[in-house]
C-alpha cells in the first residue's frame, strides 16, 4: 500500500485524467441538497460537504432499474438488457464504502445478482476521509474510523494544502500509474499529519452506540413491549429505509404499454404495511411495532446471524432525517439494557 501526496490544485487535473476513460460521479450541490451525480468538469464538484443526502448506494442499486425488456401479453418475448457501466465514484465517505462491502453479502452467494455485481466490478472508489464528522456520525462504534481505507481503492485525506493519498487496491494502482506525474511520494511528516487529522476527526465523534452481544440480547426481547413504545411514534414513511446505505430491499414490478414493456426493480420500504400484505389480505406484520422491530432486527440480528456483520455503518442519515426523531443509536443502546 504505497503512500503519496497530491497537491490540492492538482486535484482538477486528476479528475480530468479520470474523465478521459470513464464516467466520474462526485458530490454535487443543487440548492441545499448534496447528491452523487455525474460530473463533466472538475469545477462541478462540491467538497465542503458532510455527506450526501442520498447515499452512493443509489449508484450501485439504482432506485429504478430495468431488469429486462419484453413484449407483453400471452404471446410475449424477452430481450435482455446490457449491463456494463464503467464508472469512478469520487469523494465517497469511508462509511458509505463499507456499506458496499455489506451489500456484497446479499447480492452474491448461491444466486449472483448480475446487475449489482457488474456495477461493483466496473467501479473505482476514490474515498475522501471526513475531516469534520457530523452530530450523528457514529462510525467509531463499529471500530471504523472517518479515515478508514479498508473498503476504497484510493483514499485521500485532507492534510492542509495537500491530499495524503493511500492506494489500496490494484484498481487504484492503475489510476495512480495513469496519472503518475501528479503524485509525489509522501514523507514521514505527511504520514504524521494524516494520523493527526484522523485523530482529530475521531475525537469530534461524540455519540457512540453500545452493540456488545447485541445479537443475543435481541434474541431475548423479541416479544417485549419495548418495541411497541419505540414504534408508537413511527409514521411508516420511507425516509430511513431509502436513505440508509445498507438497506437493500426492493420490489419487482412490470411496466408496459400495449406494444412493449419491461420488468423493473425499485427500492421498497419495509415500514409500509403494503410491503408484506398477502393477496388474501392477511399481513404477517400488521402493526408499526412489528415493522420497526423487523428493521432493527434485520440490521442487528438477522444480518449478523446470516453474514456475521452488523448491517449498519454509523452514517447517521436515518437519525438526521427521521420526521419524529426515532434515533437508532438510542433505540439499540436502550434495547441492550431492556430486561427480558
Amino acid at each position: 500500500m504505497d503512500k503519496m501526496i497530491l497537491s490540492k490544485n492538482d486535484l482538477s487535473k486528476l479528475i480530468e485524467e479520470l474523465l478521459k476513460k470513464n464516467k466520474v460521479y462526485g458530490p454535487v450541490k443543487s440548492d441545499d441538497t448534496v447528491l452523487f451525480e455525474e460530473i463533466k468538469k472538475p469545477t462541478e464538484l462540491y467538497l465542503d460537504y458532510l455527506n450526501s443526502e442520498v447515499p452512493p448506494k443509489a449508484l450501485m442499486l439504482h432506485q429504478t432499474e430495468t431488469l429486462f425488456k419484453f413484449i407483453p401479453g400471452p404471446k410475449g418475448k424477452i430481450e435482455p438488457v446490457d449491463m456494463d457501466e464503467k464508472k469512478v465514484i469520487f469523494g465517497i465517505r469511508p462509511c458509505d464504502a463499507k456499506s458496499f462491502a455489506i451489500l456484497d453479502h446479499v447480492f452474491e452467494g448461491d444466486f449472483d445478482d448480475p446487475y449489482f455485481i457488474t456495477k461493483r466490478k466496473n467501479t473505482i472508489l476514490i474515498g475522501l476521509s471526513c475531516s469534520t464528522p457530523g452530530t450523528n456520525c457514529f462510525c467509531t462504534s463499529f471500530d471504523d474510523s472517518p479515515a478508514a481505507s479498508k473498503y476504497v481503492d484510493i483514499l485521500l485525506t485532507d492534510i492542509g494544502n495537500n491530499y495524503y493519498v493511500e492506494v489500496i487496491s490494484d484498481l487504484g494502482k492503475q489510476v495512480t500509474k495513469a496519472a503518475g506525474k501528479l503524485f509525489k511520494s509522501a514523507t514521514e511528516s505527511d504520514t504524521k499529519k494524516k494520523k493527526d487529522a484522523e485523530k482529530k476527526a475521531i475525537d469530534m465523534i461524540s455519540r457512540t452506540q453500545k452493540t456488545d452481544k447485541i445479537v443475543e440480547k435481541l434474541d431475548k426481547i423479541f416479544e417485549n413491549r419495548f418495541w411497541k413504545d419505540v414504534a408508537f411514534k413511527c409514521l411508516g414513511c420511507g425516509t430511513c429505509t431509502y436513505l440508509c446505505p445498507t438497506c437493500h430491499c426492493f420490489d419487482i414490478q412490470d411496466e408496459s404499454t400495449l406494444t412493449k414493456g419491461a420488468r423493473i426493480r425499485v427500492w421498497d420500504n419495509c415500514m409500509n404495511p403494503e410491503y408484506t400484505i398477502h393477496a388474501s389480505g392477511y399481513n404477517p406484520r400488521p402493526a408499526r411495532a412489528n415493522r420497526v422491530r423487523n428493521r432493527i432486527y434485520h440490521k442487528y440480528n438477522y444480518y449478523p446471524k446470516n453474514f456475521d456483520v452488523i448491517a449498519c455503518v454509523g452514517c447517521g442519515r436515518c437519525i438526521d432525517l427521521c420526521p419524529v426523531n426515532i434515533d437508532i443509536i438510542d433505540v439499540v443502546t436502550k434495547a441492550g439494557e431492556v430486561k427480558p
Binding site: T64, T135, R207, L235, C237, E255, N272, A287, I319, P323
Partner: protein, 327 residues
C-alpha cells in the same frame, strides 16, 4: 410563554380519567435541538412533557394512526379516548378531520396551547450547525432565547420562524377541551406574497422550476405519512389493480404523485407545514398547498379547518361557482 407545569398538570388530569387511553405530547429529543412526540399512559409519564418553540410536529396525525388489531372472539374493542396536545395550526387539522367525519369529536381530548411561533429546524440548523448535547430554546416574547452549553443568545423571531408562523391567523387553537395559558388574539394576515411573485413567472419558467424539484423526489412518502389529513386506508399510489401511478421514480411519475397529493389536500390542507419540514430532499411542497389555499379562498370563499359543521369544499357546491373556463 407557556407554563410547562400547567401543561403537565393538565396532561396528568387527562390521563387519570378512565375514559382516556393515552395522551400524545412533546418531549426532549435525543440530540441537539431535537424534540420528539411522546405518549403518557400513566400519570407519572406526564412529567416528561415539554412545550417550547422547537415543538414543530403536528400531533394531530396520531389519533388517525390508531391501529385496530383483530379481536379475539368476544373481546370488546377499546373505545377509550385519545388526548392530543395541539398548537393553533394543529388544532385546525383536527377540526378538518372532524368536518370530514374521519374522526368523531368525543374520540379526542384536545389540550390546546396558544402558540407564539415555532422555529424552522432547517433555518436553525443553518445558523447553529452540529449542536449535540444540551441545547434548548425559550420564547422571549418577540425574540428566541437560545441556550447552548450554558451560553444564551437572543435572535429576532423573524430570522428563525417558518413562513407559516409569520402569517399565522390562528395562534389560539380553534377547538379545545382544556386551554393551557391565556388566549392570544390573531393579529397577522396571510397575504400569499410569495405565491403571487411566483405566479408572475412564465409557464416555461414555472415548469423548469418544478421539474428540477420533482426530479429530486425519491417517493419516500414522508410528506404523506406526516400529514394529518392523509389518512386514507389505501393510498392511490399503493393501488395495483388498476395502477394509476407507477412505482418507477422519474419525472413523470413524481410529477403525477406531487400534483395528486396537492390536489387531494385541496380545501383540506391547513398549512401546518409538516410536509415541507419532513421532506428529505427539501422540495418546497407548501408552495403547492398555499397556491390552492389562495385559489379556493378567492373562488369559493372557503377556509379549511375552521368550522367543523361546514361541509367539505369538494363535497358541496354553490350555483354561482365560477365557470368562466367552461365552453
Amino acid at each position: 410563554m407557556v407554563d410547562e407545569k400547567e401543561l403537565r398538570e393538565a396532561v396528568e388530569k387527562t390521563v387519570k380519567r378512565d375514559d382516556v387511553k393515552y395522551v400524545v405530547g412533546y418531549e426532549k429529543g435525543t440530540y441537539g435541538f431535537q424534540v420528539t412526540p411522546c405518549f403518557a399512559y400513566k400519570s407519572e409519564d406526564a412529567d416528561k412533557f415539554i412545550f417550547s418553540p422547537l415543538c414543530v410536529h403536528n400531533l394531530a396525525v396520531f389519533p388517525m394512526l390508531e391501529e385496530k388489531p383483530p379481536l379475539r372472539r368476544g373481546e370488546e374493542p377499546d373505545k377509550r379516548k385519545v388526548g392530543v396536545v395541539v398548537k393553533g395550526c394543529d388544532s385546525r387539522a383536527i377540526v378538518q378531520i372532524i368536518q370530514e367525519k374521519g374522526l368523531d369529536r368525543e374520540k379526542v381530548v384536545i389540550l390546546g396551547i396558544p402558540c407564539t411561533g415555532v422555529v424552522d429546524p432547517k433555518k436553525l440548523e443553518a445558523k447553529f450547525p452540529g449542536k449535540t448535547k444540551n441545547a434548548e430554546i425559550k420564547d422571549d416574547n418577540d425574540k428566541f432565547a437560545i441556550t447552548i452549553d450554558g451560553k444564551t443568545s437572543k435572535i429576532a423571531k423573524d430570522e428563525l420562524m417558518p413562513d407559516k408562523c409569520k402569517t399565522c391567523e390562528y395562534p389560539t387553537p380553534v377547538l379545545y377541551d382544556i386551554l393551557i395559558g391565556k388566549e392570544i388574539k390573531g393579529s397577522k394576515k396571510e397575504n400569499y406574497k410569495e405565491i403571487e411573485s411566483f405566479e408572475k413567472k412564465s409557464l416555461k419558467d414555472k415548469w423548469q422550476y418544478w421539474e428540477k424539484q420533482f426530479e429530486k423526489c425519491i417517493r419516500c412518502y414522508a410528506c404523506r405519512n406526516s400529514c394529518p389529513l392523509c389518512y386514507c386506508k389505501e393510498c392511490m399510489v399503493d393501488q395495483l389493480d388498476p395502477q394509476w401511478v407507477r412505482r418507477s421514480v422519474d419525472v413523470s411519475e413524481n410529477t403525477a404523485w406531487n400534483l395528486l397529493r396537492a390536489f387531494h389536500l385541496a380545501g383540506r390542507c391547513i398549512g401546518c407545514g409538516q410536509c415541507e419540514r419532513v421532506c428529505p430532499m427539501d422540495i418546497p411542497l407548501m408552495k403547492l398547498n398555499k397556491k390552492i389555499e389562495k385559489e379556493i379562498k378567492e373562488m369559493f370563499k372557503y377556509t379549511a379547518g375552521v368550522n367543523a359543521e361546514e361541509k367539505p369544499l369538494l363535497a358541496m357546491f354553490k350555483p354561482d361557482d365560477p365557470e368562466d373556463f367552461i365552453l
